[in-house]
Symmetry: C2
Subunit: 125 residues, 2 copies
Amino acid sequence: MKIKEVSQKYNIPADTLRYWERQGAIPPVNRDEAGYRDYDQEDMDWISFAQCMREAGVSIEYLIEYIELFKGGKKTLEARKDLLREQLKVIKRHLDEVQNTYDLINKKVQNYETHVEGYHGKLIK
Amino acid sequence: MKIKEVSQKYNIPADTLRYWERQGAIPPVNRDEAGYRDYDQEDMDWISFAQCMREAGVSIEYLIEYIELFKGGKKTLEARKDLLREQLKVIKRHLDEVQNTYDLINKKVQNYETHVEGYHGKLIK
DNA sequence: ATAAACCTTGGAGTCGACTCAAAGGCAAGC
DNA sequence: GCTTGCCTTTGAGTCGACTCCAAGGTTTAT
């Protein structure tokens, strides 16, 4: 699969896919005879992974670190697990914050539904 | 309450509080005789609001828009409600994505717990 | 009354993450 | 065989959101 197809499939700009690879946030992608990137399923799994992580707010730097470990093979298993656990905690915290805001805005919209005037109201009890 | 106290209370750098105000992401804060910012409860409610929204990924631009509307008073009620509803949708989408990633990473950590070798595994089924 | 610790502004600098541009190679259709 | 459209790299530019700095005013403690 060429870069444009992958770009469309995952809705990620081709420039971003190249950028991620250049930075080392995903492993190097195989090339065809012309030197064009030719993504296989594994490459795309890595893209999915990176996309998820990025959407959850994980930095490129962390992804690079994970890939670095992955390159190190079996002996980095523990380190990788630790890294993921660490990120999991960060994501959880973020998740709770977003959930909190969602609930608050939701209430606020309710207020707008039922209240009068230029009511602002408290967001935090 | 002076800026340093507010900064500590909400754990937001004073520079950021000034920045938000300068941009119009929160309404102007009252000043004392010396020209120093003197935050009252309402100011702090706005800071809470901005903090929540920012944590949920809402841009400064949106906050400015909301404040602009708020300045317009009663006649902007509908527009404000619409804006919040719109943001609510965006936050919801983000929330689902983050939740999704959380679950995936969680599974991945489980895999590391039970699996052998340099197993990467699929993240997306 | 002088230093330390606040505060002010305007503007410049930084940082992460893209995003674009230039210069050029390959490939398919007319 | 030439145009169109894709691909390559390197390097520079942009953007949002801070973050810091300089120059200067105020307040508090000694």
